[in-house]
């Protein structure tokens, strides 16, 4: 049985933040015949094309699926596929180095297959006119930096912008924080270094995963950029009103918009119709490498 790695789910969340029409269309597959990166290695014969390269055979999680499908409007399909194509064609661009294949459409009429390891170009079936397929080398199916690199391409960042974000300074202290406790009642807010701004400019992500035994739990997450009382907004990837509802072990992750300097989280009040859990809940703030100016 294959599972969907959290890193690939995070990639979709980042994708959706920059491409509004994006809709998650799957990681683990049940296509017939079984073939390729939507299946775990242990579901496939050893001669499958997705098990031949060293990064697809050695030091891999044999239970992990390793591909993401994202459906988008025709305009966004062409826009995102063009971004992949430009990165793929640029031999100086390292952002797709851990990717095996990308499929999509440049013109809305024909499908292009890009092998990011061999450089070969081909085609695939017509469903790729409305969904992008990204197959990641199996060794990197759970690798966060690989997904941030892919998301940079999707977002349309230039190579210079990406390199500016990813070349660490000599003194690049890790400012991430984990285990921030969410009180059982009332609002608690956290002041954070402004995201992608100021002297310590970094990207930042919220991560929430908790053990709530068999209970669901809900959280309302709002953010502010220090722009005053009327400028609060729901955090990305939340439902209406900034709510998320999670089961034990579920993960919520979202990249915070640039400028965010406060995160406010609370549990439901007694009169609010969301699942309530009174046990310990925490969240983590994950900050990326220092952004070079």
């Amino acid at each position: 049985m294959a599972y969907a790695p959290n890193a690939l789910k995070d990639l979709y969340n980042l994708w959706h933040q920059s491409i509004p029409s994006a809709v998650f269309s799957g990681i683990v597959s049940s296509y017939v015949p079984r073939r390729g990166y939507h299946f775990a290695a242990n579901q496939l014969p050893t001669n499958d094309y997705s098990r031949q390269l060293a990064e697809d055979r050695i030091d891999i999680d044999v239970d992990a699926a390793s591909a993401l499908d994202v459906s988008q409007s025709t305009t966004d399909m062409m826009r995102v596929t063009r971004r992949f194509y430009d990165s793929w064609k640029n031999s100086d661009d390292p952002r797709l180095n851990n990717v095996r294949e990308v499929i999509g459409t440049l013109d809305g009429r024909s499908v292009i297959y890009m092998d990011c390891q061999s450089g070969e170009q081909g085609t695939a079936d017509d469903t790729h006119l409305w969904h992008n397929h990204v197959g990641v080398l199996r060794r990197f199916a759970n690798d966060g930096p690989t997904m941030l690199a892919i998301a940079s391409v999707v977002k349309g960042e230039t190579l210079a912008q990406w390199l500016g974000q990813t070349q660490p300074e000599e003194e690049d202290d890790d400012m991430s924080a984990i285990g921030l406790e969410i009180p059982v009642s009332g609002i608690k807010s956290w002041t954070i270094p402004p995201v992608e701004a100021g002297p310590d400019a970094r990207i930042a992500l919220i991560n929430i995963t908790n053990d709530s035994e068999n209970s669901q739990y809900a959280l309302r997450i709002w953010i502010n950029k220090g722009e005053g009382p009327g400028k609060w907004s729901p955090a990305p990837n939340t439902q209406e009103g900034g709510w998320i509802v999670l089961k034990s072990g579920d993960r919520y992750a979202a990249r915070l918009p640039a400028g965010t300097s406060c995160v406010s989280i609370r549990r439901p009040n007694p009169d609010e119709n969301y699942p309530k859990f009174l046990g310990n809940l925490t969240w983590a703030l994950e900050r990326g490498p220092l952004i070079k100016k």
Binding site: F24, R35, A124
Partner: protein, 79 residues
């Protein structure tokens, strides 16, 4: 590199009315229009192609969509 069986047929009703459409999965195709906040399902029927039923619950329910994406029943298409 992804050749496989596709379920193809003519769409009746909804935003793809009259078009030849395809799904990778046998039950049909969920369509999502985030801009218009509309969604629905093209149910695959062996003798009638794909028949549309509007169901706007899909466009606002991420967990429901995620479950569908993990299943082997419906394909999901953004418009």
């Amino acid at each position: 590199m992804t050749e496989r069986s596709l379920f193809q047929g003519k769409a009746t009703g909804g935003p793809l009315d009259g078009q030849e459409i395809e799904s990778r999965f046998p039950a049909g195709l969920i369509v999502i229009d985030r801009a218009q906040k509309l969604s629905g399902v093209y149910h695959r029927q062996h003798d009638k192609g794909f028949v549309y039923v509007e169901d706007n619950s899909w466009v606002n329910d991420r967990s429901k969509l995620d479950q569908a994406a993990a299943s082997a029943d419906f394909d999901i298409r953004s418009l």
